[in-house]
Amino acid sequence: MENQLYLSSSPHIHNGETTDQVMRKVIYALVPASLVSLYFFGLPALSVLLICTLGCMVFEALSCWLKKIPQTLADGSAALTGILLALNLPPSSPWWISLLGAAIAILIGKQVYGGLGHNPFNPALVARVVLLISFPVQMTNWTAPAPLTSGFDAVTTATPLGEMKTAVMLTGKLPALAQSGFSDYLLGNMGGCLGEVSALALLLGGVYLLYKKIISWHTPVAFIGTVLVLGGIFWAIAPEKYPSPLFHLVTGGLILGAFFMATDMVTSPVTTKGMLIFGCGCGLLTLLIRLFGGYPEGVSFAILLMNAATPLIDRFCRPKIYGQRPAKA
């Protein structure tokens, strides 16, 4: 026998699921929501998706080239960031917004920290928030959904959350829309970012990720649960002023955030206990911003703030090691 033997430290087998496959599965999970956005917003949505995704990949390749390190495009994380960024932008975003977003996400959100695994904040959300603050007009110019079946005339509209915020600020009362018509919201027939429009399509992807054990239930359940419970309490106290929990659930970026952004492994806690705290914090901040803040939507800010708290949460949620349970008789 020729001596072509591998010597290595145990274990000698692996379950076969590598980082690129994890990323690919998250991308698969975003397909339904992306398709729904294409259906409702047509070509503009397609251009946002393409520019963001390809842009992120180009900037990733560029950073690797500048840093003189092996190319990391194959791990799929740049493409995933691109898709997530696109889903966090309005369909009417001009091309330069998408491209700038891709640059911010990859260069400032990720690569300056050392690339995949080292960034403290969710790159796509960093980009979204920078754009939102820098270009408020372009970032809040919403088009009404125009299903492919009804032609391509874009009509300007407001997001349900935006409309609510304006009405509450002006009149102190909820507008009529916040009290009915949930089926449209559920399916995606409302103004908003690409990925905010269809709760159902997002849930489908979320369930796929749970089924494939890419994410665990802790973060999304804690996140959405906190919004529902706290939102429910406010609604019960003053239903004319605060929308119902269901309205919170199906409008805005809650489901996208809870299943796809807050579960970003790199920027969220590593223990299940930490995930629960992280999710509750996201939910609390989201609701406070939605009800009392200056912005109509608070998911992005909430997740970024909790990202900042992640090292602290991890520090206080170290698992209790074996052998510390008191001996039973």
Binding site: I13, V266, G323
Partner: protein
């Protein structure tokens, strides 16, 4: 049987790799023929290696001592067949080094040493039984090869109330204990009775993973009359690790840095029980054991009763050879086994299996950055943070690694198996453990 398979107990953490048991689980134990040469290393157990007591040219019988125990935590080594000592010299050991060994050329008669006599365990007291076990070279056959008589000698202030028999065999591919439980039930039970007599206790529980329903059924049925309990356990690796097994069966956790006796438990492998029975009743020392020779590279995987010192090459030949070229030879299972430099090493007392993979059975991965997915933490049966310890180890932050309880790691391999970044976590933790121990020794 259905009731025995309900209420499966287990521990928190762990995972279930594809178990590969189908290669050899259905194969009855066969007696491996005599090889041309037996290479019997003197270091085959935890503790001080034995000291050779034969010289080149000496004629030995099967069971004759060829090396003496050196101290209490040590056992003698015996000739595993009759023949002539043709060398006492360093030979390639499964540890990967050349270590002292006695080489025997068999005379083909395979005659037992006449001076070995058995006894009825009822006629012997605990101390006499333990002495006989040490003289017979009995060590834990689960893989750790800790001298059994030491394990059976807890200090007076540590009362033992439960004997746990490890029939879990959670390592993928290995089936030696499974076959032994099916085929040598009486010898195992006899060994359990001897152990109970030594410990002066009555409670004995055999833990078996639920993927061996035939063994659970058989041992439950036959154990009832002898007051031997059988506990079916969830199919989850590392269910057979001592601490996890104790936790699953008794709900007790062995405090960090201590031994099972701390919580009143002694754990013995089922294979060791059979060897104990032979050592007492027949006076036969530990000169052979059951080894699973298995894996996708073997033409006909088998469970063989192997004389200690038989070369792996000879074992592979008994299994019809290899279909392809060996790319990795593992002594033990795929999760904790050790890779071998060559098939030209002997099977020793701790050899529970020989697993051979070809190139095509070994996907190779490029390690990437940790993506903080937390999987290593969720599967760790000790509830450590493997990725944090490994990161400290890579940066030589030894104190911090110790702060993350690196020394509690049992090196089961779950974290590395599951890591999507395919980081060599266990390897890094081993490095950290060695560095911590080195630091402790110097200070």
């Amino acid at each position: 049987m259905k009731s025995a398979l309900k209420n499966l107990k287990s521990f928190a953490g762990g995972l279930h790799p594809p178990d590969g048991k189908h290669f050899s689980a259905g194969k009855a134990i066969e007696i491996c023929p005599l090889p041309e040469e037996l290479v019997i290393p003197l270091a085959q157990h935890i503790g001080a290696p034995a000291e050779a007591c034969v010289e080149v040219g000496a004629l030995v019988k099967k069971g004759s001592p060829i090396a003496k125990a050196k101290g209490f935590v040590s056992v003698p080594i015996h000739a595993s067949t009759s023949g002539e000592v043709i060398a006492v010299e360093p030979r390639l050991h499964p540890m990967g080094k050349h270590l002292p060994a006695v080489v025997i050329k068999p005379d083909g008669k395979d005659l037992w040493d006449d001076s070995l006599t058995g006894a009825d365990p009822q006629d012997l007291n605990a101390a006499e039984l333990k002495n006989r076990l040490q003289a017979a070279g009995i060590v834990g056959l689960g893989g750790a090869t800790f001298p059994t008589h030491v394990k059976l000698s807890p200090p007076a202030d540590k009362p033992i109330d439960t004997l746990i028999l490890n029939g879990v065999e959670c390592e993928p591919f290995l089936t030696a204990d499974h076959r032994l439980m099916l085929e040598e039930t009486e010898r195992i039970f006899d060994g359990i009775d001897i152990l109970r007599k030594i410990l002066g206790i009555t409670r004995a529980v055999i833990g078996i993973e639920a993927n061996k329903p035939d063994a659970i059924e058989l041992l439950t049925a036959r154990g009832a009359a002898r007051q031997i309990e059988v506990q079916a356990l969830e199919v989850k690796y590392p269910q057979g690790a001592e601490k996890q097994l104790i936790d699953a069966i008794t709900g007790r956790q062995v405090p960090s840095g201590t031994l099972p006796m701390e919580v009143g438990v002694v754990v013995q492998n089922v294979g060791t029980c059979a060897a104990i029975s032979d050592a007492i009743r027949r006076g036969h020392p530990l000169v052979e054991r059951v080894v699973s020779i298995t894996g996708p590279a073997l033409v006909e995987p088998k469970n063989l009763l192997v004389r200690i010192g038989t070369s792996l090459q000879f074992l592979v030949d008994q299994c019809g050879g290899l279909n392809g070229t060996a790319a990795k030879i593992i002594m033990g299972g795929p999760m904790m086994g050790q890779t071998q430099l060559s098939l030209d090493v002997p099977a020793i007392r701790g050899t529970s299996g020989v697993l051979i993979f070809r190139q095509q059975d070994l996907p190779r991965y490029e390690a990437g950055p940790c993506i903080r997915c937390g999987r290593c933490i969720s599967v760790c049966p000790i509830h450590l943070q493997p990725t944090s310890i490994a990161a400290c180890a890579r940066l030589d932050m030894i104190d911090q690694a110790a702060g993350y309880h690196a020394l509690d790691c049992i090196e089961c391999g779950c974290c590395t198996y599951i890591c999507p970044a395919t980081l060599p976590l266990v390897q890094s933790i081993r490095y950290a453990k060695a560095a911590i121990m080195a630091q402790k020794r110097t200070t």
